[in-house]
């Protein structure tokens, strides 16, 4: 028996991902700004959904309050820009500030059991919103423009915004991938599969959850920074809206919880639905909500879960594979080895055998 982490398809996955990133990076030279604007929106959603998925798909923490960090990220960029710092340069600052804010907040919201955690995070987001609305210099309740960027040539600005969004999305996915492949990733996978069992074999569940909560906040903060940069203004009620949570949840659910690929696929599906049905107004959200309910109940691992279980396909492998060797080994008689030659391990409930 031999344990490996990747199969050849995964190598192709990484090569493919690199090719895709390079191809995407050249797009501003090839297509019109409306396409890149749509993609900026998509990149922001990929980041948000991936960050929510880290919490829900791996830690069993359902948050309805990640918009708190979207807002913190956006307002960090605004404050820095008001003090003369370039908004693009401020993106890493937004990430750090969001992470720093998330640390003390985690001690508060982690006092709530899993089920009430959701509403607790929502209250925190509301508190941030209600507090920020009172700051007149940041636009109060009526919103304000992001200074500095409007003077840049629009074509250049749109291209740089696009590259920033691509970089943030790429970094978020890479960070997720590396996090899940690290030792902590193993802890997280164990928590995802059975929190009680994970705790009993010595996984430090709470500290792993806290680390992921902070990482998730950082990602959402970067997404918030991209939002204010792409829109050139910020409105507190919009940036702190629970709609962001709705989008994260629907995308991650439809795409597939507990996988890196799920939120990417989900974003594609979400954008397709949005582009084709948005003129239906409220009906569009009724359909999307119903779809999410149906998927949560009948297809809990989402559409990517369906694809990967049928095709044994993984683009970003973070688990382990057991390969059966023909020479007799002490484990040869293990019931695991019946059936197929390769067994994915730690890839989810019912993944493997």
């Amino acid at each position: 028996m031999r344990v490996t982490r990747s199969r050849r398809s995964a190598l192709w996955g990484i090569v493919g991902a690199l090719v895709v990133v390079v191809a995407l990076a050249t797009l501003p030279y090839v297509v019109y700004a409306d396409v890149t604007d749509l993609l900026v929106n998509a990149f922001i959603l990929v980041v948000l959904a991936s960050m929510w998925n880290l919490l829900a798909g791996y830690c069993g923490l359902i948050s309805v309050g990640q918009q708190a960090y979207v807002g913190v990220g956006a307002y960090t960029v605004l404050v820095l820009a008001q003090n003369g710092i370039n908004a693009y340069v401020a993106i890493p600052a937004a990430l750090l500030v969001s992470a720093a804010v998330a640390v003390p907040v985690s001690f508060l919201v982690f006092r709530l059991r899993a089920e009430y955690f959701a509403i607790g995070t929502w209250v925190v987001a509301e508190v941030f919103f209600l507090a920020l609305v009172r700051v007149r210099s940041l636009g109060g309740g009526t919103g304000t423009a992001l200074p500095g960027l409007a003077l840049i040539d629009p074509v250049l600005r749109q291209a740089v915004t696009y590259w920033s969004a691509l970089a943030v999305a790429g970094a978020a996915l890479l960070a997720t991938y590396l996090l899940l492949r690290s030792r902590m990733g193993l802890d997280l996978t164990a928590i995802r599969d059975n929190e009680l069992a994970a705790r009993s074999v010595g996984v430090r569940v709470t500290s792993a959850q806290r680390a992921v909560y902070v990482v998730s906040a950082a990602g959402c903060g970067a997404a918030g920074a991209l939002l204010i940069i792409s829109q050139l203004n910020v409105l507190a009620s919009a940036i702190f809206s629970v709609q962001w949570s709705a989008k994260m949840i629907f995308i991650a659910l439809i795409g597939g919880l507990g996988s890196i690929e799920g939120p990417i696929l989900g974003t594609g599906i979400f954008i397709a639905i949005q582009q084709s049905l948005a003129q239906l107004g409220a009906w569009y959200l009724i359909l999307l909500g119903s779809l999410a309910v149906g998927i949560a109940m009948f297809l809990p691992k989402g559409i990517w879960g369906l694809i990967s279980s049928r095709l044994h396909l993984q683009v970003f492998p973070v688990g382990y594979w057991l390969h059966r060797q023909d020479s007799p080994s002490p484990l040869a008689g293990e019931p695991l080895s019946s059936g197929s030659r390769d067994f994915p391990r730690g890839q989810g409930r019912g993944g493997g055998s």
């Binding site: 709530l112 089920e115 509403i119 925190v124 999410a292 309910v293 109940m297 809990p300």
Partner: protein, 289 residues
């Protein structure tokens, strides 16, 4: 004297929040489910009552005899068809399902009833009040809502402690497996609890429409207030829920007294303070509901 008035109004507002929190408490205490669509169901009940008023010309408050039983049926069916099925997938699935339902209900109301805000016409009652001192007067509407909340809590307490069904509910909430070994049909018992919770949600929706007004997006804030009342009071304690509602209500009215736009924020801050310094809530929970 304005402060006294703020406190009195806050206590009465607490009755409304306790009414909202009741359903949340039952669902969580018995079935271990947090219904993120809780506030939206209350608003749905208010719209249903409005529909009954316009078609039958019944007085608004009388519609409760139609809306509450309908909601009890909805709760029973919802528990057996949706909540139980979601629980079987995983406990957290119920959260996601209820969040999806929340979005669906809000937007369905938007489509069928427009974004206009409504309130119930209760005739002279709306302006009638009990004048205690020149500065402090109590509106009958607030008093009725507070009384309803207290009556509901007493009724629930008696039902859970004195009746056979109440005992079965407490048993199933304590240990589902042991209860079913003892011959209790836990699915039926849970559905009865859900029916109770939904009937109380209908009551809360009507109270909301009488006390102030409602529109399709009025649900989520009510969910948050109800949740805060539950946590401030102490999980699993019915009377704690009333106390939590009162503390939240008083915090909001005093906050609004200091700064007209600061009421809700003050309520949230009190909630966070309780979470930080007394996470078990003001009243220690007794076993089972």
């Amino acid at each position: 004297m304005n402060w006294v008035n703020a406190i009195v109004q806050g206590i009465l507002l607490g009755g409304l929040y306790a009414l909202f929190a009741c359903g949340l408490s039952i669902l969580f205490g018995v079935i271990r489910v947090v219904n993120l669509a809780h506030g939206d169901f209350a608003v749905l009940a208010a719209y249903l009552a409005l529909l009954v008023v316009t078609t039958t010309h019944l007085p608004a408050l009388a519609t409760i005899v139609i809306v509450a039983p309908l909601f009890a049926l909805l709760g029973y069916a919802g528990q057996r068809l949706i909540i139980q099925k979601s629980l079987d997938v995983s406990p957290l699935t119920t959260l996601l399902v209820s969040f999806g339902l929340s979005v669906v209900i809000q937007n369905a109301l938007l489509v069928f009833a427009s974004a206009d805000s409504h309130s119930f016409d209760v005739g002279h009652l709306i302006s009638a009040s009990l004048r205690i001192t020149p500065e402090v007067s109590i509106a009958y509407v607030s008093l009725i809502i507070f009384g309803t909340a207290v009556a509901l809590l007493i009724g629930l307490q008696l039902f859970l402690s004195r009746t056979a069904m109440g005992r079965q509910i407490r048993a199933a909430a304590d240990d589902q497996e042991a209860a079913s070994i003892a011959g209790i049909d836990t699915h039926h018992v849970f559905a009865i609890a859900a029916a109770l919770a939904f009937a109380s949600v209908a009551l809360a929706g009507l109270a909301l429409g009488t006390y102030s007004s409602f529109d399709p997006s009025a649900g989520p804030p009510r969910l948050v207030f109800a949740f805060e009342a539950v946590i401030i009071g102490g999980l699993g304690s019915l009377w704690g829920t009333l106390l939590g509602g009162i503390v939240l209500g008083v915090a909001q009215t005093i906050g609004a007294q200091i700064d007209p736009s600061g009421g809700v924020l003050a309520g949230h801050l009190v909630f966070l303070a309780v979470l930080a310094f007394r996470p078990q809530g003001l009243i220690r929970a007794r076993l089972a509901t």
